[in-house]
């Protein structure tokens, strides 16, 4: 329980610091730390495969993509970017915590006790009951690849015009 509380607190701290940092590289590191804490929480409750996905994809791949994008766009303007001053985040955090506490209290009083679920393994669920999700994932990955190709094609055409 102590490890769970520590991970959740660190996750919130990383997310808050992510919003307060002026340097986008530090913000990317904050996002990676939040992903690592989330993967530890997932691992604690037996969601091992989801934890590995979170750790490798979110903490690894997305951070690399983000840092690459920051380095590709480093010459652009990063000043005066905030619509609300960053100092508002900490007072708003108290408001958010109050709203979240109210939501959890409401859920605890309105959500019925859980029935005993039949034991399944991840493989049974993923490949048996949720096989349509696999098709959806393949379609999304193909759509992502086609989207990247479309964007790169626009970029190449723009380069020829230049």
């Amino acid at each position: 329980m102590t490890l769970l509380i520590g991970c959740l607190v660190l996750l919130v701290v990383a997310v808050v610091l992510l919003g307060l940092f002026q340097d986008l590289l530090y913000s990317a590191l904050g996002l990676a730390v939040a992903s690592i804490m989330l993967s530890i929480v997932l691992f604690q409750f037996g969601a091992n495969i989801a934890a590995v996905f979170e750790l490798s994809v979110c903490a690894g791949l997305i951070t690399v993509l983000f840092v690459s994008t920051v380095s590709l766009t480093k010459d652009s303007d990063q000043k005066g970017e905030s619509r609300l001053p960053a100092r508002f985040l900490l007072p708003m955090l108290v408001v958010f915590a109050g709203v979240a506490f109210g939501g959890v209290t409401w859920l605890a009083s309105h959500v019925a006790a859980a029935p005993a679920a039949a034991p399944h393994t991840f493989q049974d669920v993923f490949w048996g009951q949720r096989s349509s999700d696999v098709l959806g994932q393949i379609a999304i990955i193909l759509a992502g690849v086609l989207g990247m190709l479309a964007v790169l094609r626009v970029k190449l055409q723009g380069g020829h015009h230049d």
Binding site: F45, F53, D77, L89, L107, I141, K155
Partner: protein, 102 residues
């Protein structure tokens, strides 16, 4: 609801609201992507809490894996669009995107 489910739900809601704040607070496109990612972290936590409460961790694990794939593709597409937008407009300000025409 057990104490763990309450704690995870509370943190998930809190992180989700921080993500919404980040979306409203900044005009920089890269920071908006960070806000979307923070939102995704909150949603993952709330999904985990739902699975723990119902005792369906394998089912919710498969949903989380699907969600992570969607989140990753979304981030990759958004970041590539941001690079192209910055090359085209010379700015990362989200208001510059309003100049786009059909």
């Amino acid at each position: 609801m057990t104490e763990a489910v309450v704690g995870i739900t509370f943190t998930g809601l809190l992180v989700f609201m921080i993500g919404v704040y980040l979306l409203f607070a900044y005009r920089n496109l890269l920071r908006l992507v960070l806000g979307v990612e923070v939102l995704a972290k909150g949603v993952t936590l709330i999904l985990l809490a739902a699975g723990l409460h119902r005792g369906m961790v394998p089912l919710i694990q498969s949903l989380i894996v699907t969600f992570i794939i969607v989140e990753t593709i979304l981030a990759a597409i958004l970041l590539s669009i941001i690079v192209i937008s910055q090359r085209t407009n010379g700015s990362l300000d989200v208001r510059v995107l309003s100049r786009l025409r059909g």
